[in-house]
Symmetry: C2
Subunit: 326 residues, 2 copies
């Protein structure tokens, strides 16, 4: 039977990768050690994924490895921090080789894409639970804070929204008109293997162009709401300007509005920047091949006003996802 130490050694310890700067010491001691780049701040975020809550029982292990790290990297992206490493704490019902092989493969493929390393963690037996804590670096005063939006700022969205929610609805059998096989594959990729907008976040922070940012994990309206609350501002959001995902864009208006405005699992960035920076934002996003769309404006008046393409008020019955009330 696979012991805890064999499990770590076989699937998670990669000695030749473990100590590239700023990682001074990786897996295998009581603690990992980071040697922070002089003058830089360390950005830290922690996300916990639970079976039956964040993913279905029996979910593909490789995709789960990818997504577990992706949602954490998305938090670094929203701060504008450069990823440097992460810890993984893992509770498993049993030490199954197939699962471990797939999970670690998905995890390390994404880690390698961002040139970061697993530096420590914990494994134990228990109901499947994946807790990753990720570390990044950002220059003092450069981090993109939720509370930094200013009245007059444009509201921008990276990429597209809603296809992840569409895939989930399809999996749950909630769609009156189910997805065809090709659409299913395309939408499911958005749900299971989101790509965190790390380069965009780093450039927005590094060049001092954006004011506030957040990553869209619980649905745009809920997440934008955090920016508004912490910045003590309001906003008008053009719901019809929201960039719907490729598959969602083919569905009816009501579904498109609902899932792009309040879908969840998008892992795109919502950020604000002064109107004077419009061309700079577009140039910067273009330099990392990330589409960005202007979808509204920050205003001094509190509250979030949803409007349609013609500027008329929209009433959508929507709310951000909450783990304890839904």
């Amino acid at each position: 039977m696979l012991s805890e130490f064999d499990l770590i050694k076989e699937y998670f310890q990669r000695p030749r990768h473990a100590a590239a700067p700023p990682v001074a010491l990786g897996i295998g001691d009581d603690c990992a050690l980071l040697a922070p780049t002089p003058g830089m701040q360390t950005a830290i975020s922690s996300d916990m994924l639970v079976e039956g809550r964040h993913f279905f029982a029996g979910a593909d292990a490789l995709k789960l490895g990818h997504k577990s790290l992706a949602v954490n990297l998305s938090d670094l992206a929203a701060m504008g921090a450069r990823p440097v490493g992460f810890t993984l704490a893992l509770a498993l019902p049993a030490a199954e080789r197939d699962w471990l092989q797939g999970f670690s493969q998905g995890l390390f493929a994404l880690a390698d894409a961002f040139n970061i390393e697993l530096i420590g963690g914990d494994t134990t037996r228990g109901p499947l639970n994946i807790c990753i804590t990720v570390f990044g670096e950002v220059a003092p005063g450069r981090a993109l804070r939720r509370g930094a939006a200013l009245a007059g700022d444009d509201i921008w969205i990276s990429g597209t929204l809603g296809d992840a929610r569409l895939a989930l609805a399809d999996l749950r059998g909630e769609l009156a008109q189910p997805l065809d096989a090709a659409s299913q594959r395309s939408a499911a990729a958005r749900l299971h293997t989101p790509v965190p907008r790390v380069e965009l976040g780093m450039l927005l922070a590094g060049q001092g162009i954006a004011h506030a940012a957040i990553d869209i994990s619980d649905g745009l309206i809920g997440d934008l709401g955090h920016i508004l609350k912490l910045s003590h501002v309001g906003a008008t959001l053009d719901v019809d300007a929201l960039p719907a995902g490729d598959i969602l864009a083919t569905r009816d208006t009501a579904l498109r509005r609902a899932y792009s405005a309040a879908g969840g699992d998008d892992y795109e960035l919502c950020f604000t920047a002064p109107a004077s920076a419009r061309e700079a934002v577009l140039a910067l996003a273009g330099s990392v091949a990330t589409p960005v769309t202007r979808v509204g404006r920050i205003e001094a008046q509190a509250g979030l006003r949803l409007v349609d393409a013609g500027g008329a008020p929209l009433e959508l019955q929507l709310a951000g996802f909450d783990h304890f009330t839904s």
Copy 2:
């Protein structure tokens, strides 16, 4: 019903504490920010506690709050790092106010004792699971590494061993002679509210007196084994010299030997130091009122040799705890 955001705000967010150096930004954004003390390394450790595995279902929430942080601080102690902050990811079956009140009280009482703050994390619904990642600071080259033991070093143990295991055995009804009420209370305190040896670890590292160290969480023999393996050395351990806990010391020799050598949940430090440093070790430990006991010696010959008080070889059928094979 208590929402995720209300839950965090009500039980875990303490604004006036959240941004003392080196914490530049606490709870409430996409990431927390640390501003590392110039020239210092960041020590990081992550532990996951699962109901039914690390604690009984229905365990006292206040003690659980204490222990969840204590086991992480113990890892910092074993590295000799000064604690600076921690993140908490928490999966809960339901948002129960009584439980949250107790858990956060136990957690913050210990955090306050070490003047550290909760800087971020995650909450979700799911089978009870507590994942804490802790951060500390240590000067480059000073961290107490598992692989740094040298032949000729003394082996030292802080405090006493085995009472936590004794309490567990009693709770499980494994003892032929159960504990009386007073003994139960005393031993249970060692099991449920361990006190991490942070000051001792910091002094041992800061003054450069110790070579290797580890915290004893899975039983001394198993944990010392990690030092031996990574240091490429062996050792002779005087099992009868092991400092048994107050209650364990009153039991028979076989139980005393077994639980002090391979009990688990002790959260004491096992460290090695050159024989020339004996007086310095005793003086340093005395300065933080932490008893330390010399229990053996590191040797060039591989393997761990257990002996009794007379120096005769002892055969104990013992092994460190493993989450996937036990």
